[in-house]
Amino acid sequence: MPWMFFIVLTGWLFGPWGTAWALDHDNLDPNRPVQLEDAYPIPHGEIGVEGGVRVNDRRAGSTQLIYQPQILYGAFMNTQIEIQSDIFTDPHTLRGTNQSGDLRLGVLYNFNTETLLWPALAVRVEGIFPTGVRSQGVDTQLTGILTRSFGRLRFHANAGYTILSRPRDVERHGVYRLVGAVSYPIGYPFRFRETLIVDVYTQQSDLIGQRNYTGAEIGIRHQLSSRIVLDMGMGTEFDGPSDRSAINGTIGLSIGF
C-alpha cells in the first residue's frame, strides 16, 4: 500500500499536470510535518493527497519507519474529511490507539474564521477502525482546535481525548493529548513560500501509571510549486516512558487538486 501511494505521488509530481494553482502551505495538517493541526480545513471542493515517511529513533527498542498516507477532501463548506492509515515497521505499535494499518476516518469542522475578537475554532472527530496489525475495537478521538494570530505569528492549540473501546491489560480507557505551537511565514515581504512551525506536546501514555510522552518538534513547509508543498521536520521526546523517541525526522509531500 505505501508503495502504491508513492507511485501515485510520483505520477502527480512528474505527470502531465505541470504546475498548478495554490495549495496553501500555511494550512497545517497533522504529521505534515508536525503533529499539530490548525483550525482551518481545506477549501470546499479541494482534494488533497498527503504522504510522508517518519523515522523514529527510540531510546529503548528498535528504530521505526512510519509511512503516513492521507487523503483529504473539502466535502462541505468549512468541513474536511480525512482518510489516513499509518503503516509501521516493527514494532507494529508504539501507542495503544495507533496500530499499524488501522484505518482512521476523521472529520474536521471549522466553526469560524479568525476575527479581531475571535480566534479560529474547530473540532475534529476521528474514528480509528481495527483494520491493522493486532488491533481490536473502534477507538474514538475528539480534538478541539484553536488558531489565533498576532501579526504574522500564529498560535495554535490542540486538546484531544481518545477513548479506547477495548483496552487491554493495563491500557488506559482513554488518553489525552495537548499540543501548543507557533507558525510563522518566513521571508515577508518578498517571499511567501515557507512556513516555520514549532510545537511542544504532552500525551498521556497508553499504560496506566506511566509518565506522559512529552516532547517538541520543529518543521518547515515549503511551497515547491503551486500544487505541491514539501515538508520536513524533526523532534524529540524529553520525558516519558523508556520507549520514547530520542530523535525523529519526517519528510513529506502534500498535493492539492
Partner: protein, 330 residues
C-alpha cells in the same frame, strides 16, 4: 518501564480530563450563541478543469505580473489600517516601494495574502472572501483565453465558470452599478486625494487586468498571444515607474477590452464592480469619518451587503436598471 497502579492518581487524572473536555466543549459551543464578529471561513476551491493554469504554464510573464498584483491591495490595506492612514510617506513611499519591489522580484507563485495583511483579514474577512472569489474568476477567464480551446469550447467554459462563480454567496452582482454614484459617498475619493501615487499604482494594476482580454482573444496561438500582451505589459511597467496620477477614474473593462465586454457583459460588470469595491474599501480605510477599526469594518460590510453582493440585487439602489443583461448571463 515503571508502572504505577495507584487508583487515586488515576481517578484524579480522569477528573482533570473531564474538566478539560467540558472546557473544550464550552469553548467550541460558546461562539454558537451568536456574536456579530463570529464569521464563517467559507473558502471554496476554484472551478476545476483541464485548462486550469494555462496562463501560468504558457504565458509566464503575464502570470508573474498578476502574482505581483495580488500583493498590492493586501499590503495597502494592512498599511492603511496600521498607520490609520495618517502617515503619507509610510503609504506613498514605504508601502508603495515595497509593493514595487515585490513586483520586481518576479514572483512565480501568488503570495499568501493572509501573511501580507493579517490584521485586515481579521477585520473584514467577508470582503476578502468576496475578493478571492472574484479573483478566481479573473484567473479562470485568463486561463480559458490562453488555453488551446475552440471558440465554442471557450464560450462554454466561460459560461461554466460564471455559473460556478454565481453560486457563491460572495458573488458580486453581474449588473452594471452606478460607479460615479458609488464614487460620491461621503468618504469617496479620500484615498486618492491623500495618496495619489499609490492610487494611480492600483489603477495601473486594474489597467493590466482588464486590458489583456481583447488582445488575448484576438491572437490565434500562444506566440501571438505573447506578442499581443507585450505592449500592455510594457505600458503597465511604465505606469508603475510613472503612476498615471492624471487619471480621474479607474480603468473600465469596456474601455480597454470592448469585445470582451460586449461578449460577456456580466463578467465585465463583475470585474468593474470588483475594482470599484477595491476603491471603496481604500476610501473607507483612509477616511477620518470612521475613526475606529470597528467603524471601518461596519461600513465595509454595509456597502458590501447593500451595494456589491449579488444577494442584494433586488434592493440594490446602485444598479443601473435600464441596462438589462442578456437572459442567459443572469
Amino acid at each position: 518501564m515503571t508502572i504505577n497502579k495507584d487508583p487515586s492518581l488515576h481517578s484524579i487524572r480522569h477528573g482533570c480530563l473531564r474538566v478539560l473536555t467540558m472546557c473544550l466543549l464550552l469553548l467550541t459551543a460558546w461562539p454558537l450563541t451568536g456574536c456579530e464578529q463570529f464569521e464563517k471561513r467559507d473558502q471554496r476551491f476554484y472551478y476545476r478543469a483541464l485548462w486550469n493554469f494555462s496562463l501560468r504554464d504558457n504565458l509566464k510573464e503575464l502570470d508573474i505580473d498578476f502574482n505581483g498584483i495580488d500583493f498590492g491591495h493586501s499590503h495597502l490595506y494592512e498599511n492603511l489600517l496600521l498607520t490609520g492612514a495618517a502617515d503619507v510617506p509610510a503609504i506613498e513611499d514605504v508601502a508603495r516601494q515595497e509593493t514595487l519591489r515585490f513586483i520586481a522580484s518576479r514572483p512565480t507563485l501568488p503570495p499568501n495574502e493572509e501573511a501580507i495583511a493579517p490584521n485586515y483579514m481579521k477585520l473584514a474577512w467577508r470582503a476578502q472572501n468576496t475578493f478571492d472569489e472574484a479573483h478566481a474568476l479573473h484567473r479562470s477567464t485568463y486561463d480559458i483565453y490562453v488555453a488551446d480551446l475552440s471558440p465554442a469550447e471557450q464560450d462554454r467554459a466561460i459560461h461554466n465558470v460564471l455559473a460556478y462563480y454565481q453560486k457563491s454567496a460572495y458573488a458580486i452582482t453581474p449588473h452594471r452599478l452606478d460607479h460615479h454614484r458609488l464614487d460620491s459617498l461621503p468618504y469617496s475619493k479620500a484615498f486618492r486625494q491623500k495618496f495619489p501615487l499609490f492610487n494611480a499604482t492600483i489603477w495601473a494594476y486594474h489597467y493590466l487586468q482588464v486590458a489583456v482580454y481583447d488582445p488575448l482573444g484576438a491572437a490565434p496561438d500562444l506566440s501571438a498571444k505573447q506578442r499581443a500582451v507585450q505592449p500592455i505589459l510594457d505600458t503597465y511597467h511604465h505606469y508603475l515607474r510613472h503612476p498615471p496620477v492624471h487619471w480621474t477614474f479607474m480603468p473600465l473593462v469596456d474601455e480597454y477590452s470592448p469585445r470582451f465586454a460586449a461578449q460577456y457583459p456580466a463578467i465585465a460588470n463583475i470585474f468593474d464592480n470588483l475594482h470599484m469595491l477595491h476603491d471603496t474599501i481604500s476610501d473607507i480605510l483612509s477616511s477620518e469619518l470612521f475613526p475606529t477599526w470597528q467603524a471601518k469594518r461596519a461600513e465595509i460590510y454595509r456597502v458590501l451587503d447593500t451595494y456589491y453582493l449579488a444577494t442584494a440585487d433586488s434592493t440594490n439602489p446602485m444598479i443601473i436598471r435600464d441596462q438589462p443583461l442578456p437572459h442567459h448571463l443572469h
